[in-house]
Amino acid sequence: MSASDTGGGNARAAILGSVRKALGRGPLAGAAREALESGLNDPAPNLIPARAQLPHAAQVDLFVAMAEEVKASVARVGSDAGVPAVVADYLAQHNLPTDIVMAPDAALDAYPWAARPLLRLRRGKAEETDAVSITGALLGIAETGTLLLTSAAERPTTLNFLPATHIVVLRAEQIVGAYEEGWALLRRQGSPPGDGGFMPRTVNLITGPSRTADIEQRMQLGAHGPRQLHIVIVGGEEG
């Protein structure tokens, strides 16, 4: 445990002591402490921008516009049956390999991959040699065209970063307005609900493909993570 092996029991007490001295009080107790605790156990959102509070169809449109603005590509498909074809077309158009590593996620089983036998799918985490990955997402967040992905046994995080092409398939109903709707969903899904233990190991908010402007402030896609981010939205108005 850290306190003993850093000799940091002292450091901890000294730092907290120094903070309290600066604040001119001892440890918080009583009503003041309870108020702060309930603020953490039952958190409330702050100001949420109007753009994140549109009707659902407009939210989906905003999500698409914002994602495209940051150089993600977006395809919309009316039915589950159409998804494998959309993926195959994208790979063909960009001369990408059809060997794909896919999240072992039951949510992706809904799509009839076998109808496209040329797509060779492996289920698991990503390796260095993988060029293309397919994952789902927990949510799409309209205000900035952001995807929210969570880690789990069936959703390894390496899929989101190692392959040069990342394809994300999500349903139009999964698109919400604001980041805070993501937090609310994570809290609801967690066990026990409302406990700070609801967070998966990794929560990724992803807004477009990887980029850098570190050389002469000139933007280049594909710094360390994916060069291409392709988002397939299933269902919703446009079809």
Partner: protein
């Protein structure tokens, strides 16, 4: 790194004379400044969010002990460890202990200004552990053996040509012998060379933009994805962060997220915002097996309750330096340490001492653009003035300036003398520069007039003009 802030004047002169740096700085204006303006204008709630962000940070600082304890408890509950460290030396030791326990030979690093603050890389090297910077800008300056000139864009001062030269020289060991011309090629080569290092590293070290008390999560914001590969591939993930990074809830982090990238680069949101909570779960297929947070004080608890408390709200967006005319003229290296620009002018004297960094709070035109863009409304000018006062009280500063200020203070308290003497001074200055309206040289102030002209005063003293104006009645008062 050892601070060289005392040499600000020489450093600044070098910056002014460096054409490559001047080109890079000129790009800040068309780049970050304009993009921030556009991003802020696109979000009607931007100003309201700034006020709310300030309020969140103030409330957190007023209860900092509570939120730190709660953060620690949640990190432990989720299987991680928190290492409290008062000094940079303690933080370096804590990190070394963790690396040793993992028998680490190499560590990958995401960009962390706190790691720069504690001079982690030379320490790891001295202990036989190779640090590999993975952020492209940090990688470049590591190869060049330099230090960051900007907190968001560490290699801002380098041209593509210089980087091409550097890569040619340092990448020969990997068999690369071609001179690269395009920025695209440079990015690709760095990607190719750093990729295997992620996999080979035993430990990954990242900073944190936020520590979430609600959940014990740490959050990083990047565009490259390097911070993510740094933390999911090695066995051990170490986060290094200072105390004031804690925020109460995920909702509070969301408010700050809406301001951070818009203020920094004018992006709506950075490409990757990643929340890390504990080590990998039992059935996860990837992710680190252990998770450590090195929580560093290094003077922050002493800033609390002082006249410098407000700077603890800083979210390290870099907007103040992007908009600063002094930074824009002399560049980041002039400031001689990790934090340049107006932020550095306030923070550096606290961290390395006013004796070393006394020039920095004076390196300001007091134009106020830094305050106007600071997303958490830090009164940077006021705090630079505090430092000037402290410097004066401590008996530091140039002797001529000190004598001048002392004389002015003595006079200002004696209106019967002050009025006629200032009137006389104005008449004199006006007589010295009757034609051009400006003075190229001023006796006793040659240092000030070496690089600029002093506009000659016109039309009497302020007090005399004020009296005349009052005399004209309330006509203009509305």
């Amino acid at each position: 790194m050892e601070p060289i802030s005392h040499a600000f004047k020489d450093n600044a002169r070098r910056g002014l004379a460096d054409p490559n740096l001047q080109r890079a700085l000129a790009r800040l204006k068309t780049g970050f400044q304009e993009r921030r303006t556009i991003a802020a204008a696109r979000l009607p709630e931007f100003e309201a969010l700034r006020s709310q962000a300030k309020e969140i940070k103030d409330r957190t600082l007023a209860n900092l002990d509570f939120y730190l304890e709660r953060f620690e408890a949640k990190v432990r509950e989720t299987g991680g460890e928190v290492h409290w460290c008062q000094t940079p030396a303690e933080a370096r030791e804590a990190i070394l202990r963790i690396c040793r326990a993992a028998q680490a030979k190499s560590v990958t690093k995401g960009k962390s200004m706190v790691a720069e603050e504690i001079a982690l890389n030379p320490f790891l090297e001295a202990n036989g552990i190779e640090p590999v910077e993975t952020d492209l800008g940090e990688y470049i300056i590591q190869l060049a053996d330099e230090y960051p000139s900007h907190i968001i864009v560490p290699a801002l001062h380098k041209t593509a040509e210089q980087i091409s030269e550097l890569f040619l020289d340092r990448h020969r060991q990997y068999g690369n012998t071609q001179r690269l011309e395009e920025v695209r090629e440079l990015v690709d080569e760095a990607r190719r060379i750093i990729r295997p290092r992620y996999v080979a590293a035993d430990v990954g070290i990242t900073g944190a933009n936020f520590l979430i008390a609600e959940t014990g999560s740490t959050a990083i914001v990047t565009n490259e994805g390097n911070g993510d590969l740094t933390q999911i591939l090695p066995k051990v993930h170490i986060v290094i962060a200072t105390l004031e990074k804690v925020v109460p809830t995920l909702d509070d982090a969301a408010t700050l997220m809406r301001l951070l990238a818009r203020s920094a680069t004018g992006q709506e949101l950075s490409t990757y915002t990643t929340f890390s909570t504990g080590p990998r779960r039992a059935d996860d297929l990837d992710g680190p097996e252990s998770f450590h947070v090195v929580l560093l004080d290094n003077g922050r608890s002493k800033m609390l309750g002082s006249e410098f408390q407000d700077v603890l709200r800083c979210i390290k967006c870099g907007a103040c330096m992007n908009h600063c005319p002094v930074y824009g003229a002399v560049g980041g290296h002039a400031y001689g340490w990790v934090y340049p620009g107006p932020l550095g002018a306030v923070l550096t004297p606290f961290l390395v001492g006013i004796e070393e960094a006394g020039h920095l709070p004076n390196a300001s035109t007091f134009c106020g653009r830094c305050e106007a863009v600071c997303p958490v409304r830090i009164p940077l000018l006021k705090m630079m003035r505090y430092w000037r006062e402290r410097e004066f009280e401590a008996g530091l500063g140039a002797p001529a300036l000190r004598r001048g200020l002392a004389l002015w203070a003595w006079l200002a308290k004696r209106p019967a003398l002050y009025r006629p003497l200032t009137a006389l001074a104005i008449a004199l200055l006006g007589a010295l520069a009757p034609r051009r309206g400006a003075l190229a040289h001023l006796p006793l102030a040659t240092g000030w007039t070496r690089d600029r002209d002093l506009p000659a005063p016109e039309g009497g003293t302020f007090q005399a003009r004020w009296r005349a104006r009052q005399g004209r009645g309330a006509r203009t008062a509305a």
